[in-house]
């Protein structure tokens, strides 16, 4: 009976693990992803440090959706910056250039930036740079925080935003390259486990099964 209970507990644990893994591996169309998207939108418009957000943070961590969302936003940031540098090169101001680029692009980051710009245009509200900084802080996106700093310096001190934006885009491309190298090296190590336990071990089993079954038969 005890063994059966252990087996049941093990199965339940494995099932829960599989469900969590499946939810993590599921694409952007999953319910959880939609929920997080909606939540991201809601938080963008009205940040609320309520206690239930702590549970949401745990859920984020479990699902891994927050990490994926961050990665997606960071990936989207690179072409956005490159196109922004194009606009800045044409003599546009940083904010109007960003507005022009975001109005063309489709994607979560462009959508969020459009919303931030719109909100910053309301009289008496926080400026766009401050909102962008808060947004970067909330989503833990250092690259967006760097963009906010560049825009801040450009607005307050009249510094040219073009070199900063261009350097940021180049840095992000380099970071992506480094990440790809790390990912490919890590993957090569990760496949050792399935290769050893999932392929070599069954192969040994196939090799030894006739010998072992004959041996057990002769021992009987």
């Amino acid at each position: 009976m005890t063994e059966v209970a252990w087996l049941a507990a093990l199965c339940a644990g494995a099932g829960a693990g599989c469900a969590a893994a499946a939810a993590t591996a599921a694409g952007g169309s999953s319910e959880a992803e939609h929920w997080l998207e909606r939540r991201g939108r809601a938080r963008t418009s009205a940040p609320s440090p309520r206690p239930e957000n702590r549970h949401h943070a745990v859920l984020d961590w479990v699902l891994g959706s927050a990490r994926r969302r961050r990665e997606r936003l960071q990936t989207e940031l690179v072409p956005l910056l490159e196109l922004l540098s194009l606009e800045l090169g044409a003599g546009q101001t940083a904010l109007s250039g960003l507005a022009a680029v975001c109005s063309r692009l489709e994607g979560p980051l462009a959508r969020d930036l459009r919303r931030l710009q719109l909100m910053s245009q309301v009289a008496g509200s926080a400026p766009f740079e401050a909102r962008l900084e808060a947004y970067a802080d909330r989503l833990q996106l250092p690259a967006v925080a760097s963009l906010a700093s560049v825009l801040h310096a450009s607005r307050d001190y009249g510094a040219g935003a073009l070199p900063g934006v261009r350097a940021l885009a180049a840095d992000l491309r380099r970071a992506q390259r480094r990440q790809l190298i790390a990912l490919s090296r890590r993957a090569l190590n990760q496949v050792l486990a399935p290769a050893a336990f999932g392929i070599l071990l069954p192969f040994l089993g196939i090799l030894l099964f006739p010998a072992l079954s004959t041996l057990s038969r002769s021992l009987r």
């Binding site: 997606r72 990936t75 989207e76 072409p79 490159e82 196109l83 540098s85 194009l86 606009e87 090169g89 044409a90 546009q92 022009a100 680029v101 109005s103 063309r104 692009l105 489709e106 994607g107 261009r166 885009a169 180049a170 491309r173 380099r174 992506q176 390259r177 790809l180 190298i181 990912l183 490919s184 993957a187 090569l188 990760q190 496949v191 399935p194 290769a195 336990f197 999932g198 392929i199 070599l200 069954p202 192969f203 089993g205 196939i206 090799l207 099964f209 006739p210 010998a211 079954s213 004959t214």
Partner: protein, 290 residues
């Protein structure tokens, strides 16, 4: 042989029932099948062989499955091993088609990069504007993209350049080409200078492609090593069967067949898991209004 006939008859009945009662197929299974069909169709299209489409690829794989099954079954007399050999042969065929698609894609990526380089060179001279540079690409650009640039150049004269870029983006389906199209669209509306952007893109994207291809090469090494290990039991059992070795007798009873099926299933699943682990993230497409 009677087992084979029975299996074939069973399969035929199952297919007939599924075909007749399409509504009875659960929606989840229906979605899965549709997704599989879409993936296979994309694979066939990426290979760019005129005669290869979803139907012909499926037929080829089914033929490979049957041939592999019959061959191994005739050699060893073990249906489980026959099924594994059939699946292996079908997988090999699919891998060849996928490899061709990957090679085509790498060539297309190089072509887009070359187009960006050429555009940068032409714009850097200052003698040519963007429309002239696009005309030049249509005449002397990379072969794979000439047709697209020709259409874009022709559409520009009719004032429908945005539409032509959109069509080209859908056909080329490369993030760098998307960025090129977005940059040209922004330049059209704002009159920006494209030269510095193209110079930057040329450098960073070429380096990214290098890394990606190096990673893919390392993956091929790991994948092929796993495939070789996967083939070893088939080979081992095939050779012993051909030599009529009594060592394989335990595999001819139900317990032995079950054990073999289980082990082969574990190996197959592990191989698929390895492939999943080795898969590199695809660079996302850039979506924008033309």
């Amino acid at each position: 042989m009677p087992e084979l006939a029975a299996a074939a008859a069973g399969l035929g009945v199952a297919v007939a029932v599924l075909t007749l009662a399409e509504r009875a197929v659960p929606p989840a299974l229906n979605r899965l099948l549709r997704r599989l069909a879409e993936r296979e169709a994309a694979l066939a299209a990426a290979a760019e062989l005129g005669w290869l489409d979803l139907a012909s690829l499926t037929a080829l794989q089914a033929t490979a499955l049957v041939v592999g099954f019959l061959f191994e079954f005739a050699l060893t007399g073990l249906p489980v091993l026959g099924l594994a050999a059939g699946l292996g042969l079908a997988g090999l065929l699919r891998a060849r088609v996928a490899a061709r698609g990957r090679a085509r894609r790498a060539a297309l990526q190089d072509a887009v990069l070359e187009a960006v380089r050429l555009l940068h060179q032409l714009l850097a001279t200052g003698a040519a504007g963007v429309p002239q540079a696009l005309g030049e690409l249509a005449e002397r650009g990379p072969l794979q993209l000439r047709e697209h640039f020709r259409r874009i150049h022709a559409a520009a004269a009719a004032g429908r350049q945005g539409e032509a870029w959109g069509q080209a983006r859908r056909r080329v389906a490369e993030p760098l080409f998307d960025l090129l199209a977005a940059a040209v669209a922004l330049q059209r509306s704002g009159g920006a200078e494209l030269g510095p952007l193209f110079a930057q893109l040329e450098e960073s994207v070429a380096a990214a492609y290098d890394v990606q291809r190096e990673a893919q090469a390392l993956q091929v090494q790991a994948r092929s090593a796993a495939a070789v290990i996967l083939c070893l039991p088939l080979l081992f059992l095939g050779v012993l069967s051909a030599l009529r070795s009594p060592y394989l007798d335990p595999y001819h009873d139900a317990g032995g067949q079950l054990f073999l099926a289980l082990m082969l299933a574990v190996m197959g699943m592990s191989y698929l898991w390895m492939r999943r682990l080795l898969r590199l993230p695809e660079p996302p497409r850039l979506r924008f209004h033309d």
